[in-house]
Symmetry: D2
Subunit: 476 residues, 4 copies
């Protein structure tokens, strides 16, 4: 079934959440993977999968849909074993969807190997060509298959050795979780683009996940980041950590994990996401103060920033927009004609909280800029006398090549328009973005982050990334 893109949604799309678990007792490994993936659902809602190893055989189930729809008790029952990995995916391409669902599982001369990946290898196209020219045949179009096949062919006595040989070739963002017959291995690129953390299970064993919220959901202790360039092996009660690659001198954590992607209860680079978001709001209040009567968030992601903005500015915080929480497989969008008549599918305004008021509306980002205008109009139609839009990050002017789908450069509103032009286009009384410095103050760091989408200064040269789409070429 074709999915009509939800055009009222103007958020960047994270492409994946990864998860891994290894236990000495094999108790409920598939169920715990389910709960872990469930906590990572916000990182991808299109497809999910779990692969489990019982020590020799790998069993796999993956499908399109939400974690809680795919994994029924009947589906989980046969997935018994000691070690497992899982993946939840936001799918960028329709026709290839099924083949590219992860984990990607192959048999190799060293036994079975399953791979779950969050990120984007920018030189994947070149690596793929290399594999093809070595005579490999590829069945999917993802960089995950490239990763898996390179590992299978890497020689070496252990998967750790094979990783050490192969890692230097991979340029880009990769938070990887691998499942072999009797271990789970987590790896993170030397730039540390995307998050990945490990934790100790309360009843023995270890788990690894894209975000700490999944570890917290499982009751983990000893939660720690997988370091950039590190290989972490989970083998029952044992954990083994090797610094395989020198971390990049200039780490490049994704600031957007703080701004939008991560769940508020997760920690990123040692900082609680909700807390940083409050500070983003505070910084914004300092930088772009305005006289107003109420601060409202665009729910749900901007709530913490609105709390911070309110606390800093003294302007009361309240709800101004109600979001329909049941946006599922929304195939049907109001027609343009219906929209002009006022049909609103996703947000309704709270007139009581807005009427006659000067409103500061906090949003986390403007990407294509398609929803900000209608939201400003909605608030104004509900009686607001002024609407001041405040964005908790700088203008996004450049596409991401490290695992986030923001569209092409040309799709980005801020790459085409000045702030004044955007303000006019959106129809806000004022529009202000948080400065790069302000954002980094909120984060509490001045360095070590990738801000390429704001600055165009990519930590890795990305000319190769342009070739990426040719992947889609031969097999539709």
């Amino acid at each position: 079934m074709k999915k009509i893109p939800v055009t009222t949604d103007d958020r960047p799309k994270e492409e994946c959440g990864v998860f891994g678990i290894s236990t000495p007792h094999g108790d409920g490994v598939a169920e715990l993977s389910f709960f872990g993936l469930f906590a990572l659902q916000h990182r991808g809602q299109e497809a999910a999968g779990i692969a489990v190893s019982d020590g020799s055989r790998v069993r796999l189930h993956k499908d399109e849909g939400l974690v809680s729809n795919i994994f029924t008790p009947e589906v989980l029952a046969p997935l018994s074993g000691y070690h497992a990995i899982g993946h939840t995916r936001y799918s960028t391409t329709g026709s290839n969807a099924h083949r590219n669902i992860q984990p990607f599982v192959i048999e190799t001369m060293h036994g079975p190997l399953a791979v779950a990946h969050n990120g984007n290898i920018v030189n994947a196209s070149a690596l793929r060509e290399e594999l093809l020219h070595r005579g490999f045949g590829l069945t999917a179009t993802s960089d995950t298959e490239v990763i898996a096949l390179m590992l299978a062919a890497a020689g070496g006595r252990t998967w750790q050795e094979r990783l050490e040989r192969t890692l230097p070739a991979w340029k880009g963002a990769f938070s990887l979780v691998l499942l072999a017959a009797d271990e789970v291995i987590a790896v993170r690129d030397p730039w540390g683009f995307r998050p990945l953390s490990v934790g100790r299970l309360p009843h023995g064993g270890w788990t690894v996940a894209s975000e700490t919220c999944a570890l917290a959901t499982l009751g983990c202790t000893d939660i720690d980041e997988v370091r950039p360039g590190e290989i972490v092996t989970l083998r029952g009660a044992e954990i083994d950590r090797i610094q395989a690659l020198t971390p990049s001198g200039q780490p490049a954590r994704c600031t957007f994990e703080f701004v939008y992607f991560s769940r508020p209860d997760s920690f990123w680079d040692g900082q609680n996401v909700h807390h940083v978001r409050q500070r983003l709001g505070r910084e914004l209040a300092i930088e772009s103060a305005i006289d107003a009567d109420v601060v409202i968030p665009v729910p749900d992601s901007s709530i913490p920033a609105a709390i911070g903005y309110s606390a800093e500015s003294g302007i009361p915080h309240n709800d101004g927009l109600i979001k329909n929480r049941y946006i599922g497989r929304t195939f049907i969008e109001p027609t343009q004609d219906m929209r002009e008549r006022g049909v609103a599918l996703k947000f309704n305004a709270l007139r009581e909280n807005l009427e006659g008021k000067r409103v500061v509306m906090i949003d986390d980002s403007l990407v294509r800029g398609t929803t900000a205008g209608p939201l400003v109009k909605l608030v104004r139609d509900a009686g607001a006398t002024e609407v001041h839009l405040r964005i908790t990050c700088p203008p996004i002017t450049h596409a991401c090549h490290f695992g986030v789908d923001m569209g092409h450069d040309g799709d980005l509103m801020a790459s085409r328009l000045s702030v004044e032009e955007m303000e006019a286009h959106i129809g806000a009384d004022s529009l202000a973005f948080l400065s790069l410095d302000g954002m980094m103050r909120a984060v509490g760091q001045s360095e070590g982050y990738c801000n390429a989408c704001f600055t165009g200064e990519y930590p890795i040269a990305v000319h190769e990334a342009q070739a990426k789409l040719s992947f889609e070429g031969a097999i539709a």
Copy 2:
């Protein structure tokens, strides 16, 4: 597929949302019904249906699932016509689910009739027996079928006449929307238990819905409540309103629509729900003041009350709990053993906002009381030094017989335990409920509301309601 009850959810369950539309032009009637039902999704997530009449024939589609999953463009395409009704359902009974999905459609000597119902006819069992003894055969187990068959057999020249003859027999809560060949009719019981409002469509025609949020979603103007005892007929551009039954001297609007059910942007009895919830928080702050460092809501329903509590008390408001938004068809719950290990499926705590703090936690109700204890523990484990639980309504001590599933009297925590006992059971440092007077002050009325679940004073004698479950008897 059997659904395992989501035992971590301790909310009362609304049983239905109803919707109706009639247009002179027949433009997008099914799509508008979809958007309307979508805005009523919070009133029932188990099943939904739409019936459309083109002036002579009624076409129907209904199924289990969310509105946005059931109604694809392919499903809506053949549902063309001028008049439509819709229903969204929270299903109390598994095995009968499919037969009892609404709208319920029959052919009668007066043409087709479709019925969508929100409420509960307390004497339905007796009325059903009467139909059976008149020789009728019934195919479903719902009071909706009783309503439909009584109307079919009522004689009279118009559906309005038949309603006028039949209405006096129905004791209980009924916000009904009927579809005949060439009109939509809305009726509300003389007590006005459940909400029902009409509005004018921007491009001609009228619509009726359980909540005003659905009317606002469609851009309606001239929004007005269907009065208790009133019959409202929508026929293309025309609207016709008859006061068929004298409204009960003592109206009995459900207070719980304010406390929990209705969407915050809806209006109930002329008052905005979000606004009333803020006042519930304010009243609670006045009645049960406590020295604390932060006020947190149990998301999402208690957010407005937390805002109000904070505003009144001066204690800062912040998030303390993060709720997983992707609770879909959650078949799988953590085992007791997993829960003891700390596996949490639905909420995670925000340590940064709680640690070392004295916390006021606002929740809207305690029903079975199964989730309050674990939530208090979650907050305490995250470092809160004190946890004070504040509930925005009085203790619920009696079951509802007017369309809300709170379980039987014996299931209700407050029917068995005193406030002190509940406090101890839950493990809160203090527990306080809003008083009945405080709640009604927030509502802004001292009379005209059904507070039977708090007081046991039922507006209608309910001994007949006990026989209700015998419906389920003969056909499983």
Copy 3:
């Protein structure tokens, strides 16, 4: 999904198979119903259902599809009980398909009642109007619902009494099986249009089925026809037979059960169907002898007649056409263009058995006459020097109103064309039909059969039947 009519199929369509079982031990009642329905699958492939009673409650499962696809072990497991009925259906109307799947189950003042019906009540439209005018509301468009509701309203102390009161009102063909809380009741119209037989189960209890092949499949003994006008009650180990209506002085068994519908191993009116079909072939050989080299059947239904024709004529019998056995949900038919290029979906010719030969091709009937021409061409293209088509019944000139879908009178080839015109249209070297007398000689009876489709002499006046389609009117 819409089904494209399989235009290469020119057979009359039987509308139903019915089944019932009652046991003292309740052992495998649903499974035995499954096997029984499976043996009746040829009487309807569109939908099927089973209703089981455990003595007080009736449980039902019905769906579209083949018996072996609908009933999995998971579906059968909860259908436990002592008594059951089943139905398999050929559906004439698409949009109403689901509501009209049988058994039809209602609750009545006398407990649950499930009805499975094969046949057609010609005055159903009038009876339906009568029910509507008594104030009933109807949910489906079938005469089965009319039967069920009339029984529910009939008064009387037992279902047998209610049947005795109601039976005289029903004009037409009805082989009915009813399920009440603690018994199964079989009834046959006084004309005996459609078959219905009972048999004793090897391990106790009784069963009833449209055809004896289903009873044989279950290992039954004491197989006997339910007599025209008889009510047979199965209650565990007991069987009770009442001659409720005087059988019609002129019985009207459907001759077409012999010609085409019934499975060859079934018995109808005491005669084995395969045997009668052989005699049809023999009579045809006597009446329409021709000098030829090979006799071929149109598979599969004409095989016995070809055997008989060969035996009588001395012309060798062989296969000449191969039929693709996997015609399932054939959505896709060759386009006209493809057909002209020779694309054949259903039959291929066996050149080796046809080349240079004078061929007698035996078919059981010509209805619309759409397939005979292409088949003659196929045989001729495979090298046959002559093709003589022989039909094992007389020309069908009138529509059936007693449960068989042959289309309207105007659709029938023989109602528009003489035999010579048909011969020319089909392109056969000769075309001959078996005479009415010849057919009845093969059947072994000169009276007691309905031959209305050949003669237009309907055993019951059918002017009322014309109103039938108005059923479809109000609810699409």
Copy 4:
């Protein structure tokens, strides 16, 4: 869903049908593939797929189920192009079903490649190990993937060159159809184990299929076998044939294609299958004459042999067993207890044709021997005074390693029991098999056929084949 093996079915299982088409006009290529596969459905009913190339991109659809259920108009619509291949599969392994459905499609350095395969490479396990040791990762467990990956890695300028390099390594049976961006290539192993034929489409272009019945269904002319060791390239209007491998001095066509697998209207080695089956019956009548009253086939495959036996012996031919044609996804089998009570799911006996008669029952093979005994009993219980079982081939004593699933040697009845012992076990009055010589006389050849299942003389050493099951090892 798990499928319970249909234990009442005692036939060998063919593992595949393959199909390919190339046209200059691209008109209806997917539809024609559908019709072609539909005609090959008897070679595999578990899964099917079609891959289409538009000259640069390959589009694929494959799924479990029957051809007519998988391919709806919606599914076929996007499969536009000039060249296509298809596959229909009998699946031996449940858990791997989905990954092993064909065509198998990969991207290679030379563009896309899709492979459909009928047969079995006996040294696939060794070849697979070799690929693994070269560092390849494999996603499926089939020899088809081995074929595809070896071709991808073979170097050479064209697919034909790559085939020429790779073919010598493949030991075993392979009738392959490949799809590249702009051509379809058919290849057959030098032994010619399995059939494969090409034909000219009436409106331009060429097609290739496992059996000529598929070519006839499409109206093809110039039908010719792909010769053992030949590579045939179809490229729009062009056809190109290369004798790539010297055909084996001792060809090894599968005799069982005549005995059971092929559709009666197909040609194999220049002979019509139906005709050969008639001769098998004649030879059997000569070798194992018996005095009897009627010859009956076990339907449907033994009908031609029964015709031949009757013609030769002069004993009349008739039907004695009726087979239920609706055996679909038969999940439910009668329990042993039910079977003892006489519950028969698949066959019923025709008492009228058997009672008091001495019966010769013709069957095509005995494999496990599970159904012969019950069938003999069924016929005897229907009144036959004698039952003489005649088998149209010799006893099967050895497993097939060339693409037919007959089970392991130990499963084969004739490998454990003498003819006398089998006769006693089955309970026949006499049991006779056709001799090897008699069978080959019917085939019309004394050499060039693989009769290993009867003789144990495998044309290729099969010790390697034993390792086959280890494929299933690592990924379940």
